[in-house]
């Protein structure tokens, strides 16, 4: 939680960022969720005007080791485009200001993010949410990375190297963070290396964690913000589609794309937004990779909890539940076919 002194520091910092020294803040409250950052909501007032803001501060450890500058750049890159995101206000990388690096963005009121593990999370709005979900994902894929701030903060791979860079990264995470031998993850790594995918037709921005639970929707079921861009990078757009379609995020409805709409519809909607054809062969590789990447994230979470770096219950939950699910998903898939992806 923020101390009184930190709240005053935050007030002074925001006042400078907004260019108004007479800003006051209140209603500071920590928000649940966003395991990769400490997230706080607060109001800022100046005269009769009042606005809501969000502070995202780096934790001691998190599910995902990420760069706050990257997430900030992603919000800046998409604000005002056909991908709804909160407005980014200020980024501070100097840990001496609030103890850890942080950034501030405008709060979106009247909307909430659902749990990715709640069965039938969207009720009667499921179809409406699903169509927007895949439209927005397609829109992300359609943006030219060089028309954004991301190339300044992340490496731009050659198209034929997208898969290798991602696989190398997550293999490194598994190598570094496994508390015990991981035979299913190792088998998936070998299978993916033996069967590399074709290059994407062009480079795209990849959100990196686009799934149920990482967007806010309003009372009408309209998606008003896509959140959690800390794993954004430049790569193959099918990486995002495969992650969104991983069975873990299917809300108990694995017969539907992301538990929301029929797969055929989802792909058509995505193609229209992304302005590229769906390649089922390339997708198979990214789909297997998605489950392996998930497993790597949960392995990291388990280690953080085990080592006492971060004992947030959500890391214990993912270390148990999500690890078990992804091991099962990978084992069933790899055992069903001993060659290829």
């Amino acid at each position: 939680m923020l101390t009184q002194s930190e709240i005053e520091t935050l007030r002074a910092y925001l006042a400078r960022a907004l260019g108004h020294e007479d800003v006051a803040i209140d209603n500071v409250a920590r928000i649940y969720g966003g395991a990769s950052r400490e997230t706080y909501s607060f109001d800022a007032m100046r005269g009769d005007a009042r606005g809501g803001f969000i502070l995202r501060r780096d934790p001691d450890d998190s599910l995902i080791e990420s760069e706050r500058a990257l997430e900030f750049a992603a919000y800046q890159s998409f604000y005002g485009r056909n991908v709804p995101v909160p407005e980014a206000i200020a980024l501070e990388t100097d840990p001496s200001v609030l103890g850890k690096p942080f950034f501030i963005m405008r709060r979106i009121d009247g909307a909430s993010a659902g749990s990715p593990f709640q069965l039938n999370a969207y009720g009667a709005q499921k179809d409406h949410v699903g169509r927007q979900f895949f439209t927005i994902l397609g829109n992300i894929a359609s943006v030219d990375p060089y028309d954004t701030q991301l190339p300044g903060v992340v490496e731009t791979p050659a198209p034929e190297e997208c898969w290798r860079r991602e696989l190398d990264h997550w293999e490194g995470v598994i190598e570094a963070d496994s508390l015990e031998p991981q035979p299913i993850a190792r088998a998936a790594l070998r299978r993916l290396r033996r069967n590399p995918p074709k290059s994407p037709p062009r480079l795209s921005i990849v959100h990196g964690d686009y799934r149920n639970g990482n967007f806010m929707r309003d009372g009408k079921g309209d998606i008003v913000a896509v959140l959690d861009w800390e794993m954004a990078h430049i790569g193959d757009a099918l990486e995002d589609l495969a992650w969104a379609l991983d069975p873990l995020w299917a809300l108990g409805r694995e017969d539907l794309a992301a538990g929301l709409i029929p797969l055929h519809d989802a792909v058509q909607i995505w193609e229209a937004g992304a302005q590229q054809k769906f390649d089922p062969e390339r997708f198979q590789w990214w789909s297997l990779f998605a489950s392996l990447k998930g497993l790597a994230i949960w392995i990291s979470a388990a280690k953080a909890f085990h080592d006492g770096k971060n004992q947030d219950p959500v890391l214990g939950f993912t270390g148990w539940y999500c690890t078990a699910r992804h091991n099962k998903i990978l084992a069933d898939r790899l055992a069903a076919k001993l060659e290829g992806v």
């Binding site: 409250a29 920590r30 928000i31 649940y32 969720g33 749990s115 593990f117 709640q118 069965l119 015990e180 031998p181 991981q182 035979p183 299913i184 190792r186 088998a187 070998r190 947030d312 219950p313 959500v314 214990g316 939950f317 148990w320 539940y321 078990a324 699910r325 091991n327 099962k328 990978l330 084992a331 069933d332 790899l334 055992a335 001993l338």
Partner: protein, 150 residues
């Protein structure tokens, strides 16, 4: 142990959900943490009953597989490691930490065996590889956890 570990954990989870979380109105972060802690108790209740059984079945399946693989046409060095692992004495007790320590080197050996089999094109290797997957699926199936309907 009466009441059982699972009963105690489920009772505690119920208390978190029905007696603690509702009284944290206005503090969304605390409600979220209390609910997650309760959910973890639900998962722990499932593991409490079955964890030892899962580990023992997995250990026995690994040893049986290694005994068979040691007689196959694998390299001499690998065959010797497989034979040794298949006939190694069992852990002195059934504590979860003891069993996990016993199984860790077996899983590491399974990775080596699996990788070696994938390099071999002969039909015997495919048959053994299918058995490797049977063992891996046994562990993956046994560790699946179930969420309460929310």
């Amino acid at each position: 142990m009466k009441p059982s570990m699972a009963q105690v954990l489920m009772g505690s989870a119920s208390a978190m959900a029905t007696q603690v979380a509702p009284h944290l109105v206005g503090n969304g972060y605390a409600i979220g943490q209390a609910s997650m802690a309760g959910l973890i108790m639900v998962l722990a209740a499932q593991e409490a009953e079955r964890a030892v059984d899962t580990l023992v079945r997995e250990r026995d399946a690994l040893k049986a597989l290694f005994g068979e693989a040691a007689r196959a046409d694998v390299s001499e060095g690998l065959a010797a490691r497989l034979h040794e692992a298949a006939h190694a004495p069992l852990a002195s007790n059934l504590q979860i930490t003891m069993l996990e320590a016993e199984i860790a080197p077996l899983k590491a050996l399974l990775i080596d065996l699996h990788a070696a089999l994938e390099e071999e094109v002969a039909p015997w290797a495919r048959a053994l590889e299918a058995q490797v997957w049977d063992v891996l699926k046994l562990g993956a199936d046994a560790r699946l956890l179930y969420l309460p309907t929310m």
